[in-house]
Amino acid sequence: MATTTVDAHAHDSHAHEGPKGILGYFWSTDHKVIAQLYLWTGMFMALIGGLMAYVFRMQLAFPGKPVPGFGVVSPVEYNALVTNHGTIMIFWVAMPVLIAAFGNFLIPLMIGADDMVFPRINRLSYQVFLLSAIVILASLVVEGGGFGGAWTAYPPLSANPAYNLTPLGATLWVVAVALEFVAFLLGGINFIVTLMNARAPGMKAYDIPMVCWMIVIASILFMLSVGPLIAGAVMLLFDQTLGTGFFNPAVGGDPILWQHLFWFFGHPEVYVVLLPAIGVTVDIVATFSRRKLFGYRLLLYTAVGIGVLSFFVWAHHQFIAGIDPRMANIFTVTTLLISIPVIEMFFVVFATMYGGSIRLTVPMLWALSFLAEFMIGGMTGIYLGSSGSDIYLHDTYFVLAHFHYTFFPIAIIGGFAAFTYWFPKMYGKMLDERLGKIHFWGTIISFNFIFIPLFILGGLGQHRRIYNFQNFPELAPYQPLRVVATTALVVMLLFQLVFFWNLIKSFRRGVPAPKNPWESNTLEWTADSPPPHGNWPPDQMPVVYRGPYEYGHPGRESDFWPQNVPPAREA
């Protein structure tokens, strides 16, 4: 704790310039470097998670045939791929990209600070995260293969090597997830303290850009929910390695206990990643609608309300796990209640757009598609949150499609929205709008072609986590739907090449980005593109005079009014 009382301005790393050499990047305490490390690690893991989906979707569409680039998929490999696809996409893609990368990049820049308040803890956070990523990747290639007991890791399957057949893979999986939590714990402390203590002079609580609030509320949710899961992870690890029986009914343990501990974290986790995506959407929509955000405080209080409610819905994942039906009724009510604040947030965004002069740039397209696609996920959630209909739909592809209609918009669409919006600030180059639009439409359309067939299959009773549906006479005839989904997935993966081409093109000969290409109000657009170490020259740190969404102000010549422009200059 030696570093903790050092003031935000006093940390010594400002004496020298940015990172030196490749290794220097991993030892940099600059929040922008750490953000980029998180971003590129997250993108690399997304690529791995996406290729895993390609392999197991090919197995489902063409069972038993060798998959190009992989070979024949065995049932054990299939389970490991499905499990680790889920784990990686949630813990190593959604969280690092949306919270860690953009939280690190945006919070100090948007509140006018030169860095996080604990830069060295921030560096440690990434290093632990990198270690966790290496452990989860290593778990795939150890003897026995990767863990195959689904991303929820229910015991006894996950606790006993005699059942899961992956003694090393299962243990490494738990260790990797636990390490990843430590990384986000360190990062979350940093976000919360930085937002509370390091804001620019004049920036009051209601002048903070919404995306910063959302990332910080999400961090608080994470901090409050992760404790019980860490307790559960330690118990699971002891069950696996030391032979304890916390989850083993034969010696007095309780397997359902794990489900409670897991979902007490698992459901708030959905909102941990949803809130930053909403924050990104709100900032982008306000900027490109040239309208003041409708109901700033309403949105903020709604986010807090979602956070509180999200702690009382977890058992809706356990309706068929033998819980008391009276308890199921209570959790049905809380689950359906939570859709009210969520849709309230959406109406705030619609009201912001109403009467605005909308600019359909690439980030705006991503932000709007987030609303449309997430809405499908939210609507289908109503059927799953009602305990009656869930008894039929539980563990079918309907759940799977619902889940992907929430997480794909959050992690991938929200990630692309944020990335394309802040890319000019991060790298000082503009992205190509035409290639961006091709990538956008290719991804969105193929995404819907993957998961709408899976909704239909789920309604027909197709169960999740099954290696080959040809063995089920009543499900075998629906093979064309599976082929459509797999084809759409391959198309979607191919469209990501357009994105990488856009990146390469922009880095090599992109148009240099001005300070404020989108004519936005928030403070990060007053720094150079890309911002230097320390973000602003020490004698020009910004001062804030107004809220972040003053667009289209009557009586002003330009339709935006940056937070740092002194009113005196206008008079």
């Binding site: 804001r199 029986g245 005079y545």
Partner: protein, 196 residues
Amino acid sequence: MTAPSASLAGRAVQARRQQVLPNGVLGMLVFVLTEVMLFAGLISAHAIAMAGATEWPPLNQPRLPVVVTLLNTVALLVSGGMLAWAQRAWRRSSQTVNPPLFGALALGLFFVLMQGREWVALIREGLTLTSSTYGGFFYLIVGAHALHALAAILALAWAWRRLAVGRLAEAQLATVAVFWYFVVLVWPFIYIRVYL
């Protein structure tokens, strides 16, 4: 840095950044929030296991030493009190901080050593991590607390050492103290749930 004192719609701009609490203290409070939830998770898991058991503790397992641990609990609470005394003493003069800080450190160490002695005795009597769920939860929860106590004692020793060379800041003492108060105050809950 000084900001021009301008106002817009009746709004004056503050001259400098405002801190809610010192960075270290605030960061530690947030961390303690997570720790509270970790122990809440452990204790509720224990409660669920206890509620589902036919006999708790199992008949063939040793009983936990209730009285000795009660005395040990008092020692830990006194240690927390001495740290509060050290923090109050700081306001008068940093010269008077040393005795209560050392007292808090010594009593904390005493607590952990006594717990260790108790573990050795219990293991001899046949209560181990794998002997029953009862034993598993006992060592898991008390062990988790012991690890936190050891980390906090190291932090206290660090603060005590810095005080001796005259380099301890008040906010640093407060940061360490937040963590020690957590270790002290979570213990009575563990004692009531696990021992009684």
